[in-house]
């Protein structure tokens, strides 16, 4: 394993140059295949959490025969503990729109949609202003790429890509069966690239500095840097761009309050890492991947409360479409409450873990499938706190 140390980076929020959309001018001199190869070469993986190689996603979509294709930017940012996409859209929206336009050119799409969570409606006026600037520019150079905003309405599940398309099509935000994947059938059943806000912003960075330069950062499995949303028991809560591949211990040394007991990596649907594992845990796709949410807990916190909060979250946000998740979330929540009250023996936790494991296999989408991550990691490491 490559040993990286914690390193602060400043690429995503680094200032704009005076010429607007300058990167597009440079990038559009390349052919679509050259653009895709650059993105592939950079090793960029999706910054929304799942970490699919971005260049590959683009290549698959480009190779689909279709007169209509779409670019969709996922700005539904609902994972508890994540707030970096909002900050990107506030401070450097031009990078996001550049990334979308570059994607449009690469795959042959004329329309891009930004699906913005309803909780961020206050960003719309400034984003529309930036879209106007983009379109002036786009017209001037005959790019013929248009960007539209669509709003969500308070449903976490709409961050799941196929639920997001359903929502854009005026339907309930219920995830679809996969396959087909969005690269084949996404928005309006057309080939679609859907990427996270940070992924598009990073594409702009890569096209600006070049894949060679970008991939000097990070490790073989996790190229580059990414934004971390740091919250909880930390004196420096906020957004920090860090090189990928660092040990969690170094992160805690930098961001903890000296009394860190656990870090929840990747939001409510991520993993809880206890103090004794800080040293051997790497933050990156070779270790624990994260969409950027890092919630820090010190020893004054009850991990029962933390788990209870997460389970309440999933119970409320489950779309209810499939039984393992709809009923499973409720049963896990009721289950730990029953153990806490002494109505069930501690061994009942083993049954609940099996239920979570079943959900991992049987649930239809990532929401139900990932409940086992926080559930099992908290039960395994903080069993006493759950029981007593």
């Amino acid at each position: 394993m490559e040993n990286k140390t914690l390193k602060k980076i400043d690429l995503i929020f680094a200032g704009y140059t005076s010429t607007k959309y300058k990167v597009l001018e440079k990038t559009f001199q390349k052919t679509p295949d050259e653009i895709i190869n650059e993105v592939l070469d950079s090793g960029l993986k999706g910054r929304g959490g799942a970490g699919f190689p971005t260049g590959l996603k683009w290549k698959f979509t480009k190779n689909q025969e279709s007169d209509v294709k779409y670019v969709v930017c996922n700005a539904d940012e609902g994972e508890p503990g994540t707030f970096k996409d909002r900050e990107i859209l506030e401070r450097v929206p031009r990078k996001v729109f550049s990334g979308m336009a570059i994607c449009g050119r690469a795959i042959g799409a004329k329309e891009g949609y930004l699906y913005l969570r309803g909780e961020y409606t206050y960003l719309v006026p400034s984003l529309l202003k930036e879209i106007e600037i983009f379109e002036e520019y786009s017209k001037q150079y005959n790019y013929g790429f248009k960007i539209f905003i669509r709003l969500g309405s308070g449903a976490y599940i709409c961050g799941e890509e196929s639920a997001l398309f359903e929502s854009m099509e005026g339907k309930r935000g219920e995830p679809r069966n996969k396959p087909p994947y969005p690269t084949v059938s996404g928005y309006n059943s057309k080939p679609t690239v859907i990427n996270n806000v940070e992924t598009f912003a990073t594409v702009q960075v890569i096209c600006k500095i070049g894949a060679q330069e970008y991939k000097k950062l990070g490790t073989t499995d996790s190229r580059g840097s990414k934004l971390f949303s740091v919250s909880g028991d930390t004196p420096i809560a906020g957004i920090h761009e860090l090189e990928l591949g660092m040990p969690l211990q170094e992160f805690v040394d930098e961001f903890g309050d000296g009394d860190t007991k656990a870090v929840q990596v990747g939001g409510a649907s991520g993993h809880c890492v206890p103090r004794k594992q800080f040293n051997q845990t790497v933050i990156g796709f070779e270790g624990i991947p994260t969409g950027g949410s890092m919630m820090v807990f010190n020893s004054s916190r009850s991990m029962y409360n933390v788990l209870h909060d997460y389970l309440e979250f999933f119970t409320e946000e489950s779309c209810g479409q499939c039984t393992p998740c709809r009923v499973g979330c409720q049963q896990l929540l009721k289950g730990i409450e029953a153990v806490k009250r002494g109505e069930r023996p501690p061994s009942y936790l083993e049954d609940l873990k099996r239920l979570a494991q079943t959900m991992k296999i049987a649930a239809k989408c990532g929401l139900g499938q990932s409940v086992a991550n926080p559930f099992n990691s908290i039960i395994d490491n903080f069993r006493e706190e759950i029981i007593y």
Binding site: E77, G78, E79, P80, G81, T82, F83, D85, R86, R117, G118, E119, Y120, T121, Y122, R150, L151, G152, S153, G154, A155, Y156, S167, M168, E169, G170, K171, R172, G173, E174, N188, S229, V230, S231, G232, D233, A237, G238, I239, A268, M295, R301, N305, V306, D309, Y310, F313, E316, E317, C319
Partner: protein
């Protein structure tokens, strides 16, 4: 034609007469009316040439598309973990006392509805609340009361 019907027609003209316009149309109506009544949903269905059941099915899925009457101002306090750790309970209690309602209820004068929400994307500056579309990070009991007082004065 009622004021709502005029608004629906405007929205449909703006976004286009097809199913993909349903969310923006519903959102536009909620923005100004705060609530989607049965008649409103039927009008939207007619205007977009969809069945009323489809329109209701979509509307009822989304937390922000209210089908029950709400106050003129909607307060949403984040109740997710980091805001929980930073004291959202005291703020909820303070606003419940101030407005004399419980979470989920609307004041008698219809000025305010008090709700909780999941993570609002400001965890580093919790506790945080939304009032309508405006965000208020780093609040405390005192600040939250002042903010609501200000909205109260501005609401006729």
């Amino acid at each position: 034609m009622s004021k709502t019907d005029v608004l629906i027609k405007e929205l449909v003209t703006k976004y286009g007469k097809n199913r993909n316009s349903l969310m923006p149309v519903l959102q536009g109506v909620v923005q100004s009316e705060k609530c989607l009544s049965e008649e409103t949903l039927i009008s939207i269905a007619r205007e977009l040439e969809l069945s009323a059941a489809e329109v209701y099915g979509t509307a009822s899925f989304y937390t922000f598309l209210d089908t029950v009457p709400r106050g003129k101002n909607i307060i949403r306090i984040c109740k997710t973990i980091t805001c929980h750790m930073k004291g959202k309970d005291e703020i909820i209690l303070a606003l419940e006392n101030m407005l004399r309602i419980k979470v989920g209820e609307t004041t008698h004068d219809k000025k305010f509805t008090l709700l909780t929400a999941n993570c609002l994307g400001w965890c580093h500056k919790g506790p945080v609340m939304l009032v309508n579309n405006e965000v208020f990070p780093e609040i405390n009991v005192q600040k939250s009361i002042e903010i609501i007082e200000k909205f109260s004065k501005e609401t006729a």
